[in-house]
Symmetry: C2
Subunit: 472 residues, 2 copies
């Protein structure tokens, strides 16, 4: 792939002094510990310390910083909470890292219009709880919701378990304030539910991984909070049968509010990790589906769950386990949410974020297992089965950082080719960032990449903002 | 606004002969009647005949045509069914008009994945009925669904009454095949429900009004068809109270599948127009809300309707009228769907497509009435109240084409400024096209417009495709 990194300017003491004047001295960090802290995220073993970390508080401060960086052609990397899984927030070119962690106010919850205006540094779960108190619901719900920032969610177009019924981040973003690479500040759209006024800059910015501008205010659509939810966990003798059952549930007319798959290895690892015996594992179980339905009428939800349960018998499902109360539900969700963390500690350091049309899940699962044998890696699968979004954690025995292993790299390439052949693509919710950009040629040809580069150039002619990411 | 129309090439007999060789002689039209037919749409009195009309059948034919036009810098305007309300498909620069009317096949309905792949020239209602036969649902539902093409819906990001619960076209488009202005063919994304792989070209193209490429295949998400719906019509003594009631319904936790507003003048005009006495109008009624709920459980829908009915009493609502059967429902919907057509014949030739945050509807309605007095025009309002999307039909007594009247133009500008002040924007579902571009400066500054022009340039460096539209 073509590399078009701009000629870089150099950070000088005088420039750093200008940054100090903008934010105050305490928010310009140069010590080694800070640089290291801000030099990694949740992406495997990558570490790229920036030359300076700036923690601005306002849009105006970011605008002033960007003007200086643009003038001097200094690379800038925006960062949320650093929970990313594709290295999108890593300052691999050095330069300035702008942390949005101090921009952490929810500015207004508009109960008349069911909208919230927030700064980017608010933790997703904090935002969800704040609107929940008003009887409102912001569904996008990444596993890292307890620590990730809403701004990072915008950058990566995050999803999570609720996406299957409620959609992903892009479906809730109405309007964004952002600082352009040259320091100008724009709004991308309007605070409305329908908009056919000019190009959809809002949707272009969502998922652009901080390469087009630094988002400083976010207007999100909210919906009424459903009154009830029911949760069950269903064991399957075969991973493929579990995949087939997923498609059947939708074909029968149901739209669960979550439909997650967890392979047995992952469940056992995470159960040990969190010291939970919530799920009694029956001999021969290969995988579980976690199925949630929600709505305002408990009786109809119970009928739905029962009908889904009956339907699953056709796929050799075992006895469902119902979560009876809030605590049992929380316990089940904990097992699902902490799966990545648990298996990572077991050496499954690479997490792929494959997504295919829902009914192709069994073919993908079969393929993963076959490729593991061919390329000598072990894989555990879990993820948002209802969306066809399967996280595949990979390890090669005896190699700590298997991401650098040539055989594993060939295996991942073969996996992504399979995903593409199945009509899917290589990232459903984690983004391409730094980690996956060498695989992008599998799903995009040069024409598509040139269009993306052209868009980038319209926003960032000097290529200073998060340069070298995605297609660059 | 800056005009940046490219230097135009000239159509020659030799070039037209090349077009004939591509599509066959019968599909290259030069006669005056055809040129006039393809020179107008549903946008008021505008007429801009092209120099030639081409009716290709395949992506390859369009690609070949675009290559020639790009080489010779000949303006090209893509066109669907010509039902647009902003002049987006009018060939105001002459040149080539490409009609997609022969590309009218539904290519596949994928019942396993709940997706449909279609060509752009399929009539929206035909597509809806085809998937309905399989128990599936494609909700976006413009008033013109009986004649408009799905390709045009993509171009304008159409909405319709169901958008309030189900979203607009952009929420259903997964992937697009398109011919770029230089004749290259790309897919914009993948056939998946979640995608964080590169910039979201799909969402950028939806609503771009045929300025970035000619869409030739469309992959749409489908959902299970709800089993039941209930419909009622509720009279209000005050238009503003009706607007307030809209917001209250959502705040009470309901998401109706349609929530439409029709001002009494519009209802009376359309009732006469379609010769219907379906709605008995009580003395003093100012407006009606049309409220629909849908779902799989009839009993819960009845409870919802009843609760909504009770809630509306707080807003001086009159006795609701329930549509008892399919025929009564169809009759009610006919009154709503044909409102535009009926009031247009009465001289309300201008239809504005304002959209504001839902709770600002009463302020918008008040403003419209005040501006009518100030600028000497009459206005009737109807539209998708649940989305804050209000269509405002305007006439000035004694003037046939009031769109050219300086006082009316000042009035519209004042109206759009009000919409912007209320947090809204100037088009919710019709697009900017040719008609509204002179008002775009109200909602976008030069920085935003330059970003859009930069995007356009990345796709169409020679500015041959639908040039002079939106921001150009």
């Amino acid at each position: 792939m073509q590399e078009t990194v701009a000629i870089q300017g150099k950070l000088t003491t005088a420039i750093i002094e200008q940054f100090r004047q903008i934010t105050g001295e305490g928010f310009v960090l140069l010590d080694e510990e800070s640089l290291n802290n801000y030099g990694h995220d949740e992406t495997e073993h990558l570490l790229f310390p920036p030359e300076v970390v700036i923690r601005p508080r306002t849009t105006e401060e970011i605008s002033a910083i960007m003007k200086i960086c643009n003038q001097h052609r200094i690379p800038v990397t925006p960062r949320g909470a650093g929970t990313g899984l594709s290295g999108g927030a890593l300052p691999h070119l050095g330069g300035v890292l702008i942390s949005t962690d101090r921009m952490n106010s929810i500015l207004s919850i508009d109960e008349r219009n069911l909208q919230v205006i927030t700064e980017p540094g608010v933790i997703t779960e904090v935002l969800q709880n704040a609107v929940k108190e008003k009887g409102l619901f912001y569904p996008p719900d990444p596993s890292s919701r307890g620590s990730c920032f809403i701004g990072g969610n915008i950058a990566e177009n995050s999803g999570g378990p609720k996406a299957v019924k409620y959609g992903v981040v892009k479906d809730y973003v109405l309007n964004l304030e952002m600082v352009l690479p040259n320091g100008e500040v724009i709004w991308t759209g309007a605070n409305v539910l329908k908009n056919s006024t000019g190009y959809n800059l809002t949707q272009l910015v969502v998922g652009s991984e901080g390469t087009l501008g630094i988002v400083t205010k976010i207007v999100l659509k909210l919906i009424p909070l459903p009154k009830y939810d029911l949760l069950m966990l269903v064991p399957f003798q075969s991973l493929e049968k579990a995949g087939e059952a997923v498609s059947a549930i939708f074909r029968a007319g149901f739209t669960p509010s979550a439909l997650e798959l967890v392979e047995i290895d992952a469940l056992q690892i995470v159960s040990r990790f969190v010291d939970s015996s919530a799920v009694p594992v029956t001999e021969g179980t290969a995988a579980h589906l976690i199925i949630e339905v929600d709505g305002n009428h408990l009786d109809t939800l119970m009928i739905e769950m029962e009908t889904i349960g009956t339907l699953l018998a056709d796929f050799d499902a075992g006895e469902p386990y119902f979560a009876d109360d809030a605590q049992q539900k929380a316990e089940l969700w904990k097992l699902r949410r902490r799966a990545a963390e648990a298996v990572k500690i077991q050496g499954y350091t690479i997490e792929e974020d494959t997504v295919v049309p829902r009914a192709e899940l069994p073919a993908l699962i079969r393929g993963v297992k076959a490729l593991g044998i061919e390329y000598n890696f072990k894989a555990v699968c879990y993820g948002h089965a209802g969306d066809g979004n399967l996280h595949i954690r990979i390890k090669k025995e005896g190699i700590a950082n298997s991401n650098d292993d040539p055989e594993v790299i060939r295996g991942i390439r073969a996996l992504f080719k399979l995903v593409h052949e199945l009509g899917g693509t290589i990232s459903g919710e984690h983004g391409i960032g730094l980690l996956q950009k060498n695989y992008l040629d599998i799903v995009f040809n040069e024409t598509q990449l040139q269009l993306m580069r052209g868009i980038k150039k319209a926003f960032d002619p000097n290529n200073i903002l998060n340069a070298g990411k995605i297609f660059d």
